[in-house]
Symmetry: C2
Subunit: 496 residues, 2 copies
């Protein structure tokens, strides 16, 4: 079935850190692929040289255009190819002669389902091997490397610089993940749409990421795995130091038709695949939104050392639901020792819950949320804290202030602005303190926003801190992430 | 256990549609409960009269203040009480003498866990019965009635006017639901935090909502149900005409302690409760975020008549994942007849998927998404359509335009603005057409945004249309909602 030779260690350095990039098929027409990709590379402030190649243009986006590859009298490390299917082979030939190290074939329509398409792909691969070029794609959504500033994708999405690598066999899901990463403030090291994987396959990217010092977490979207044994051999090894979070598409029976056309697996193989993931400690998820939820937790928080959760909540309902979910997911919500009840009781009205979840009954006291969180962290009876509704008051306060301005014209505007600034400051110092506490006690704190403003990302960075605050929109997200971090942590402990 | 008498039909008209409201404990100090609630009532543009009551003030927020209830020489339908626990009984007495019809006791701290607290509550109830007043709460998060313009809550959140009623036994979860409703553009008819439910309980609110012509969907967050039989008798009846979506908090064993203190149920009772929900066709969910996802679907879309789903997707990955989830949730993704393949094939490159999901392979053609959706709807082999990634291109286009401006100073700004306006117009007409198609074919279309802008709500209204477009953020949300709508629809069909 697998007709392509596999090379254990392809050198992908020139893919992600090229010194220069040629865009073959660069275009001046707004909206055309060759224009969009060139524009994105330039807008991404790529540090190296950029050479547009097009036989019919002189100047595109202020850059001189080369008619053919051999007109470029400087070294070209990476060629991004956007020309039509029938031109790709000759273009690859030109690239090879020019001494290009890697080619990114964004062109689609090879029709890997047809004999002719497979034949064309296999000729591309042979040619690239002959010419000693690494071939990415074809039919790839492109690549992004935050650390080299290279953004060679169709959609100009620039997430923050960070430590999460994303490899996606689907372009649209890849774009979606980048979009969510940007919304959530998740830092990305590398993105690659692996496309049809004619030469470079997912395990190759993983081996590259294993050694990439900028990457600490690996997120995969897979529809087919060609060499399952190699995938698991590599995953098992890497997962011990860099958690691998993955979503397998094409799981259900009705999808097997599609999967098969994409060289997919049978139903039993899919079951075996999931079992192998569990055995290797890989973090398989079944919902797309869980991929980045988990990535946010893993890249921001210390791992929990056990399953015991302390819950601090601004209101009763959230606490009840969160405890329900903890129990349903196999986590424990232990009773509090009398000592902690005493300490926290000093700050709360007599009718407070006196148990875990600690219900702060909507307290306006600014100290007590942190007192409660720290009391829990100090105690050796818990391994993690979920904090509900402390962050997110700002949005409610904003509404309150806006409402007050509407009805009370005697209210000095400055007072209202001050109130807002005060809450903003409180939230900032609360987050700084959370991050500090995680460093002191080496236990994760997962927050849930009572009313997140749409502008705020899930991750809040504190300069110089080892960990980040993570603020989920729902308790279900927080509980799910904590559960999976617990599984991963137990897996590591067991496999020592 | 239940020491309070239950009255079958309490008149709640004066609660939600009072002609006048007194706020007892109204305050001039910004941030105090008595100030916030008064301010919210005024800012909410309540149409009736508002009387602040406070013995130590003359003017609050521009309104003359009354020292005591009997100083008000006009009719008072509703009294909102925010004064401390120990004053509530005398205040109720005053209200009764004044002829008030309903009291909303926002005061908390009655300590229903203590003998004294329960005693106080039972004296309040007796007093209200004697004086012929309806008692809401105590310890309630307040009420909102979009249609009378009454917003008597601690947090000034005004969702759109609409048909979804929310009843929450938890104040914080209630506020959260209102916040999400606002973000999602979900229209709300009535919100009530039922608090300690000393007199008026959830079934009472439900009976009110049954007759409320503004309410079409009922969302419940429950932690305890006092009279389970009455709850199910009423729910079963109402659910046939107004779908009831509910989340039961306090499900897990570890929560029983808390639940018990709030008169909760045992573990077996909880299992029975869920079984009874299924039997009554109630839509029980286990995650808070599902409450409003479902409400959005039920209030916007026609019910599917079967389980067969057609999927249209702008990219392959989303389609694969969505089909996976449909199958896992018990829906069917049938093969397409040759006729539909032919019709859609005219618009797509030769290498398109030729099956369900219909993968539009990122087409820029503006017609084909709607052609594909309509072909599916026309066909009697499907009952619902999920459309992925058509809506949401605007956000990506915005990014593209911003990026192009950055790198190309020859680009006339007007051209870019025009492009953006064009896409905006396309999205608008696409949505209008979806809504039209639903009306013509009476089948639901659930959309998923490829890259939702954070400003856009999940629901898009088209003036004068019978249905609304619903655009979820993830395929999992769309599949989950469709599955539950299918269950509800089958339940109705079976119980005819």
């Amino acid at each position: 079935m697998d007709t392509f030779p596999i090379f254990a260690s392809l050198n992908l350095d020139f893919v992600f850190h090229p010194r220069s990039v040629a865009v073959v098929g660069a275009s001046a027409s707004s909206g055309e692929e060759g224009q969009v990709i060139l524009s994105n590379i330039i807008a991404g402030q790529f540090g190296g040289k950029v050479f547009p190649v097009n036989p019919r243009e002189d100047l595109i986006l202020g850059l001189p255009v080369f008619r053919r590859m051999h007109d470029i009298h400087q070294t070209v490390d990476l060629a991004v190819i956007t020309t039509p299917v029938e031109t790709v082979l000759p273009v690859l030939q030109e690239c090879g002669k020019k001494g290009v190290k890697a080619v990114l074939v964004m062109t689609s329509g090879f029709g890997e389902e047809s004999e002719a398409g497979r034949d064309l792909e296999s000729r591309m691969v042979s040619l690239c091997h002959e010419m000693d070029m690494v071939l990415i794609g074809p039919n790839t959504a492109g690549i992004l490397c935050s650390h080299s500033g290279l953004l060679a994708t169709r959609v100009p999405i620039w997430p923050l610089n960070g430590e999460v690598a994303i490899v996606s066999q689907s372009g649209d899901l890849g774009n979606q993940l980048l979009h969510w990463a940007t919304q959530q403030g998740l830092g990305v090291s590398v993105f690659v749409g692996s496309g049809d994987e004619a030469m470079v396959t997912v395990p190759d990217y993983m081996e590259y990421l294993e050694c990439d010092k900028n990457t600490r977490i690996i997120v995969l979207y897979l529809e087919r795995v060609r060499d399952v044994r190699r995938f698991f051999d590599i995953s098992k090894r890497i997962n011990r130091t860099k958690p691998i979070i993955l979503l397998k598409g094409g799981r259900s029976e009705a999808r097997l038709a599609v999967s098969t056309s994409r060289r997919g697996a049978t139903r039993d193989e899919l079951k075996l695949f999931s079992a192998a993931c569990r055995q290797a400690g890989l973090l398989e998820v079944s919902l797309s939104s869980h991929l980045l939820d988990l990535a946010a937790g893993f890249c921001s928080l210390p791992l929990p050392k056990g399953d015991r959760v302390g819950i601090v909540t601004l209101g009763g309902g959230w606490g009840v639901l969160t405890a329900d979910m903890c129990n349903e997911m196999g986590l424990t919500v232990p009773d509090l020792p009398e000592e902690i009840i005493q300490t926290i009781g000093h700050y709360l009205p007599p009718f407070w819950s006196r148990r875990n979840p600690i219900d702060l009954v909507g307290t306006q006291n600014r100290e007590v949320p942190l007192v409660a969180v720290e009391e829990l962290l100090k105690w050796n009876g818990i391994d993690a804290v979920i904090s509900l509704g402390i962050v997110g008051r700002l949005e409610l306060a904003r509404r309150l202030i806006r409402s007050t301005i509407d009805v009370d014209n005697t209210m000095p505007l400055e007072f209202l602005e001050q109130t807002q600034a005060m809450i903003q400051q409180y939230e900032k110092s609360y987050i700084e303190r959370l991050v500090e506490l995680m460093e002191v006690y080496e236990k994760p704190i997962l927050s849930v926003s009572l009313a997140s403003s749409t502008q705020d990302g899930a991750i809040r960075y504190v300069p110089g801190a080892r960990y980040n605050a993570v603020i989920y929109r729902t308790p279900e997200s927080a509980v799910n992430v904590l559960t999976r971090m617990h599984h991963y942590s137990s897996f590591l402990a067991k496999s020592l």
